[in-house]
């Protein structure tokens, strides 16, 4: 079953109801809904790195949250190694509350699955507890999952995780507080506390956007190395096409809650077929003033996901839109090997 994908996302929808104001209630206006994710499907194979690219508000982070079971999908299915995540997804687990046997068993199952899928957050200046030493930060996940209760075993696991994240020798780092670490080192601590559970899937949510350009490369090559050495699958969500281009295998471009183009990274970047992808690629600055290119700058911004445009949701900003685009919601069409785009003119 080695070819079975580690993760299958099938027609995922996540809608958030808005709160209604007093006048909305009085006037019986219907509750508005934010269509954060509105029908997203993709697979992730073991050891594969998939970039989920999009601007703010495209829904990429929400997809990550749903994949990890941190939110309950409105519709659709998420299979993690054949297990239905959506069946057990919920914000919190009833830890320590008096429960019946089935609830306990379910909790154990959920924990076991959660151990195998971990997340790396965006900002290592905010995601580390400033009062915890590196050792404590990395050992916390072990506490939660009841792994390595013996001191020696635990220390060995933490050493392995820290050194695997490029913080070697581990003894040099584990007694330190985050304030004594550089941004790159902090992010390595965050990665170590995900790695210590030996996950099979990592959701990396903009892991380098808060870091200086000079150290982004080392964090990205660390992720790439983890995939190679441990076969970890990585869902890399970002708005930065250029870094995504450096180390991901496939790329999914999101716009307003949908994937509009999906394919091998090189194909998506060199011959983008959806007009949104084409525009995004065209505005990525090249580090060379001789290559200032013809840019397709889209006007306005990603519209608000409450009132989603009819037909193709990109049509109001699309440079090549025709009348038909406001009527027909385009399906994915095959435009190359493993390369799909949702555009009537792709």
């Amino acid at each position: 079953m080695i070819h079975q994908p580690i993760l299958q996302v099938i027609s995922l929808k996540k809608h958030f109801p808005c709160s209604r104001s007093f006048s909305d209630v009085i006037l019986r206006r219907p509750r508005k809904v934010v269509h954060a994710v509105d029908g997203v499907s993709f697979d992730l194979r073991r050891g594969e790195i998939l970039a989920l690219v999009g601007e703010s508000g495209s829904g990429k982070t929400t997809v990550g949250m749903n994949v990890l079971g941190l939110q309950r999908p409105t519709e659709g299915k998420i299979l993690f190694d054949q297990h239905d995540v959506t069946a057990w997804a919920s914000g919190k687990l009833a830890m320590g509350v008096k429960e019946d046997v089935t609830a306990l068993r379910r909790r154990d199952q959920v924990l076991a699955l959660r151990r195998r899928a971990q997340i790396i957050f965006q900002d290592p200046y905010e995601s580390l507890n400033p009062r915890q030493k590196v050792y404590e930060t990395v050992s916390e996940p072990l506490d939660i999952h009841g792994i390595g209760r013996a001191r020696d075993e635990r220390t060995a696991l933490i050493r392995k995780a820290l050194e695997g994240s490029g913080l070697a020798p581990a003894d040099h780092f584990w007694d330190r507080y985050p304030e004594g670490l550089s941004g790159g080192q902090r992010q390595r601590v965050v990665i170590a506390s995900a790695l210590v559970l030996e996950p099979e899937l990592l959701v990396a949510d903009e892991p380098v956007s808060m870091l200086d350009v000079s150290i982004r490369a080392e964090i990205l090559s660390l992720l790439n190395e983890l995939r190679a050495s441990r076969g970890i699958a990585i869902l890399y969500t970002t708005h930065d096409l250029a870094t995504a281009g450096m180390f991901t295998d496939r790329m999914a471009v999101m716009y307003l809650g949908r994937i509009v183009e999906l394919g091998p990274t090189a194909a998506v970047l060199t011959s983008p077929r959806h007009p949104y992808t084409q525009a995004l690629v065209s505005v990525v600055p090249a580090p060379d003033p001789r290559r200032r290119r013809e840019q397709v700058i889209l006007e306005g911004e990603v519209p608000n996901p409450i009132d989603v445009p009819t037909g193709c949701r990109f049509h109001p900003r699309c440079p090549i839109a025709q009348d038909v685009c406001s009527q027909i919601d385009p399906e994915f069409v095959q435009v190359g090997e493993g390369h799909q785009a949702a555009c009537l003119f792709a």
């Binding site: 601007e55 703010s56 000079s214 870094t243 990274t265 995004l280 600055p285 580090p287 060379d288």
Partner: protein, 321 residues
Amino acid sequence: MATLAVRNLSVSYVTASGVLLNAAEDVSFQVEQGKSLGIVGESGCGKTTVMMALLRLLPEAGRIIRGEVILEGEELLKYSEADMCAVRWAQIAMVFQGAMNALNPVRTIESQIAEALRIHGVEKGRERERAGELLELVGISPTRGRQYPHQYSGGMRQRAVIAMALACQPRVLIADEPTTALDVMIQAQILRLLVQLQKELNLALVIVTHDLGVVAEICDDVLVMYAGRVAEIGTSDAIYNGPQHPYTRRLLQAFPDIENPHAELLSIPGVPPRLDDLPPGCRFAPRCHSCQDRCLRETPLLIERSPGHSVACHLDYRKIG
């Protein structure tokens, strides 16, 4: 003659114990009307300090040790605070880093622009009209001037802040990290706007950023700073296509290029030195992979190697990686 020229500007911060920390040393550059200069470097290398110093807006602990700031022939460091007030905003305006998030949430955009106009003596009663013109200039419909910051998206707030900076028709516009934290498409919109304003208003534009891509996209000249010193300065073409300082070269190797995704991205190991622990000799030496004995002892001078292209490095760039 350059519109704005900074010569040998050195800035220090005084610590509580009275120690002087050199945040910027011997920084020189100039910008002409209708031209743009990009100042790049990692966080903490002194970029913002230099800008604050030339506007004389340093925090209390900041001291200008020496140097000259010359705006159209006038030496600004000799100005009294009152005279300097008349220069700021009217002649040199700055879009501060994160200013788009510092708009007053309980006042309309229009009234915030009008306030800047009022302080600088725009004819009373005309402020609102002028605020509308300014909004239009940056691509916002004047009717939206009546709205509050929370009704604006990030890109629009950045436009509003730029409009505010342009309120008094300055000759020089400094933008500190104008696109950081904006999405790529919004970044492209803002950069296009800056270029268009620079041309239409014949501004001397200074962009401070850590993003080499932004500078390559819009700047005529580039200054690379490292640990408070100028590492290299030259035209954009010279810096991007013939970088000579090892730091510049490493920065460029760390920058991803979407058209060349298989090029190996290299990090610069280590971090910039702390101000209270500056290495002797070349400040980049501890992180430089071409470092030699001399680099650890002698501070390299900024030497012009070809017209308009100066480098502060002891080594011959043809012999380094």
